[in-house]
Point group: C2
């Protein structure tokens, strides 16, 4: 196999290769013989596969050698039966308790004849008999199709093994009739037992097992094809019976030693599932006395130890979901504002809180976020929860956040959920918990920066009681700071007034820079990205501020596009007029340069503050 | 109880309150009567507690009402026995397979008399008998002390219940003698059975159960006291027997329905553990026919459903550990450099890769990082892996990263692990895998920025073949760009030369700003933070660049401290001299202003680039 990772092998692959080398000489155990055809397998075959939940597969050894799935079919058919009937109906047909008995024991309930669990043959035959279909042919076709969804490729039946099973499967036929006797099976049991023989004879390889396991690890969606093989709510049920009953009568020891749901088959395969993490498939035909592949069990136990995979000893912590928490007094939006406004934000910005969250939000990872928010309710005007770095959000987390937001809104706190666009389904789950109108409000700003800007605007509107701020005298521009009256008059004579309607471009990124824009009215957005799909609003400027100063000063092409976000009025200074000032009014020229530099310094201080908050603080 | 979270209740608390209200009217089941003293309990008592792995406890109802721990003592004593003897010895005394039988069944192995698991009475008595101690009094004292570590407070025995157990415990005495018969107990069984009666009579409350469970959820460390109650490697063993055998003969159904390791006691308590997440304690004395508290089971089942706690359906994804990945061509260090150096970094910076990782690193979360790194090996000179946002790192993840780093180093790639200072233990695990000398190299830069700067320096040294760059002509300073020869002469006459030794302050944050520093030789670090412990290096400037321009221009106090990081030579421009230029040489004055503004613009472009990378990109 060509390794795309050359010249270095992946360290992950190297671990698997090491396990393969360690156990390849092991010849303990014997191949299954109770089905004559199974005895023909090459006992030396040995393969190890690990599939990730994003579709990558590590493979070592004979990972593409076909063998029959045997009992590993049982949990997948049980999942199909759950999809067909739901857990209540299935609970009446098959139990979920470990039997403590061997796989071919006829462990039926004394009164109702209900098999104790779906992993023993009796329970598996009872389960196969429940699959909804017109006839036996349709039933096995449905099973094959479902297994194909798990494996991500079409699968076939090994007819020689099937026929061998048919010839020797008397005990299983007896079980079928007993199940019919107790009305667990309600029709002729013969077709159900026949389908069971066929399902056990489905050909898979070691790689298929790993991918099928990864599909269960990935909540039922094949990570490579993205096709769903089982409804998500039934995955935990399938894994539960694998955990308690999957390894025959050594299931307790398996959970104790290896600590993950697994299933073995007498064909030599073992499949193990690390929910949310990996699927593991191992193939080696020699079996121990309980019917489990000797080398596969050792590989899984070693791998569990080496990779610390035991389910009950997870290394993750619930307390890494809080990315940043700060107030608008510590980090303003990227809006460039007049000094009195900036001063007001320093002074009162603590009434606006921002909580950036990250990772996968479950109850355990959301609870610390809620606790953090509840610590700082005094005087709170606005709360922004930013989801841009959230990879997933389950319903439990959504419910807690929706409840919190609802309570805060009742207490007149403005709550905004920003950065939630990528959350598709999960965001919809969240939205769903508000009324449509409330949801529209809470989600009205796609980006954190836009939300923060709006919260600042609301605060400033209250404090300054201005409905539509505008410049009425040239001296109010930051660029005119420190000019004497007669200097202001000269300066004003150089300015021309331009109007831009909402949505109009003022300058475009990459343009040559000839002009400086002083904003008399409205808000100017600063956008980077040459293409529409890359466009990102990196800052904005409001009344009194200058826009376009950087390129005006350093003569480089425009670093950003300026967009009128309202109807905007600007006073425009052309560089040719500005340059003439150097001779005619050197003091004014220098004053302007100094004020442009001061404006850049202010923006730099703002940027440094942002960097400080983004790169340094946590929690 | 005063709620510090007023005026809003925590939504987490509200869920628990809702469960309490839903089940408080339930009077199904009966209090235990087989021990006469137990029958005296008030059957109406009902409490629900959830303890987080960082030590916060949510409480609803009668959470401080004492009751006897009964069978919930079994897993904790089993853990103590594992600490005393290790798993191999204990495996010879007690099995780990579910029995399928009731709690008081005498399920002993046919040949060796070994109880099938430590959660049935026979297994628990066998376990108690293994605890190392001088005598029975020391043994129960040791058990009490251990339980106190779990609960975070000293615990006592209810002597009335103990005496009642003693008077009626004939079956348990019989078990003791059978165990003695098989040499599972090797001394007189009477003291072991007596200690068992006492351990069952330890008084706890519902809050204790939650905290004890949270201690298991927190890998054996009490989250409130930070004291260790059990060795971390035995936590998974204790939880495994709870998962397979903890709820008597409904353990399979419990894992299927509720999906977390748990233990119940006939005193009315149920304790459940969400590894890494929560501990749950519920108390309600009425029991079902299997000896499990009726209300507690319903609360746990409802809570598992409402909060999506089923262990085999975790909501987290393995693929959120990659915080940012970029090259030095996309984001430079904060070093301010001459244009030709900046151009070189744009051109060749892709040979320096930075991978910032986050969260808790296990094998599953580290594997995608390794895969990402392996994708970009072509032409790689330097790889920086930054751990500043990593909350934890287990040995499996460390092994994979160490292997990767070792291979890359063998292939002459410079590998740096930065931001690892906070990782204490885990970082030491990583360090350990290199030789001391290699580890010292890999970890030599505490911060990502310093590491990146060093990698850039190495690249630039190779490209420009300069060993000790310095300014030899005033025209080489960025501030003199565009000056004519005679202007440069005037400008140079204003400059004074100053030397600073390595480690000397050039200016301090908060100082009034009178001077601008032009760096002729050496590197100047820009540090913020008034106190030593807050100090953070936010940027640096090298030869040719100006330092201190922001405050020089806007007249505000110094925003940062400037520190000589080498022996530094500066040309210093005093503001008083600069101001005089306005009259004497307005063109030079304007040129300088313009160049200062351009320098600020360049720094602003750099800061914006950093912000773009930090706030926008992922993966």
């Amino acid at each position: 196999m060509a390794d795309p990772l050359q010249p270095y092998n992946s360290p992950v692959h190297r671990v698997l290769q090491g396990l393969f080398d360690r156990h390849r000489e092991c010849r303990d155990g014997n191949v299954a013989t109770y089905i004559p055809e199974l005895a023909k397998v090459d006992p030396e075959k040995f393969g190890i596969c690990v599939a990730t939940t994003d579709g990558y597969v590590y493979e070592v050894g004979d990972t593409r050698h076909p063998f029959t799935i045997q009992s590993i079919s049982k949990p997948f058919v049980y999942g199909l039966a759950l999809d067909d009937h739901g857990p209540e109906t299935m609970a009446r047909k098959v139990g979920v308790e470990p039997s403590g008995d061997a796989f071919n024991a006829i462990s039926l309930g004394e009164e109702d004849g209900r098999p104790v669990n779906p992993m023993i043959n009796a329970g598996a035959i009872a389960t196969t008999g429940q699959i909804k279909s017109a006839d036996a042919a349709a039933r096995i076709a449905k099973i094959l199709e479902t297994f194909g969804l798990y494996a991500g490729r079409p699968l076939d039946i090994d007819m020689a093994v099937y026929e061998s099973e048919t010839r020797t499967g008397h005990r299983n036929r007896a079980i079928g009739h007993l199940l019919r006797n107790y009305d667990v099976l309600t029709d002729d049991p013969t077709p159900a037992v026949d389908v069971y023989f066929r399902q056990c004879s489905i050909l898979v390889d070691c790689r298929d097992l790993a991918v099928m396991a990864a599909t269960l690890a990935n909540q039922g969606v094949n990570p490579a094809t993205q096709q769903r093989a089982i409804r998500p709510e039934h995955v935990e049920s399938v894994l539960s019976v694998m955990a308690s009953c999957g390894m025959y009568d050594s299931s307790g020891g398996w959970i104790y030693e290896v600590g993950m749901p697994a299933k073995s088959g007498v064909g030599g395969g073992v499949l193990a599932v690390l929910p949310g993490q990996f699927g593991i498939g191992v193939f080696s035909p020699r079996l121990d006395t309980k019917g489990n592949s000797v080398r596969a069990i050792r590989v899984c136990a070693d791998l569990s130890r080496a990779w610390q995979l035991h389910q009950f000893n997870p290394p993750y912590s619930a307390h890494s979901s809080l990315r940043h928490a700060y107030t608008a007094a510590e980090k303003h939006s990227t809006r460039s504002r007049r000094q009195q406004e900036v001063d007001c934000l320093w002074d009162q910005g603590r009434t606006i809180r921002v909580v950036e969250v990250q990772g996968a939000l479950s109850l355990a990872t959301t609870e610390p976020i809620v606790r953090e928010i509840l610590k700082g309710l005094a005087g709170l005007r606005s709360l922004i929860i930013d989801f841009r770095h959230v990879m997933g959000l389950n319903a439990a987390a959504a419910a807690i956040l929706a409840d919190l937001a609802g309570q805060l809104r009742e207490n007149a706190v403005c709550v905004l959920f920003t950065g939630a666009a990528q959350l598709s389904e999960a965001a919809r789950a969240l939205v769903h918990r508000f009324g449509d109108a409330a949801a529209a409000e809470v989600f009205r700003f796609p980006s954190l920066d836009a939300g923060l800007e709006a919260c600042e605007d609301a605060l400033l509107r209250d404090v300054f009681a201005e409905t539509e701020p505008r410049i009425r005298d040239v001296g109010e521009y930051e660029i005119a700071a420190g000019m004497a009256a007669e200097e202001r008059a000269v300066f004003e004579s150089l300015l021309t007034t331009r109007h831009f309607v909402r949505g109009e471009y003022i300058v475009r990124q990459g343009d040559e820079a000839h002009s400086l824009f002083l904003i008399a009215k409205g808000v100017v957005g600063v956008w980077t990205g040459l293409l529409v799909e890359d466009a990102r609003r990196v800052a904005s400027c409001s009344v009194g501020m200058m826009a376009g100063g950087m390129a005006f000063i350093d003569g480089q092409p425009r670093a950003a596009t300026l967009l009128a976000e309202d109807d905007v009025e600007c006073a425009v200074l052309e560089r040719s007029d500005f340059d003439l000032l150097q001779q005619s009014h050197p003091a004014i020229y220098a004053r302007i340069l100094r004020n442009i530099a001061a404006s850049l310094a202010a923006k730099l201080r703002l940027a440094d503050m942002h960097l400080e908050v983004l790169s340094c603080r946590r929690g």
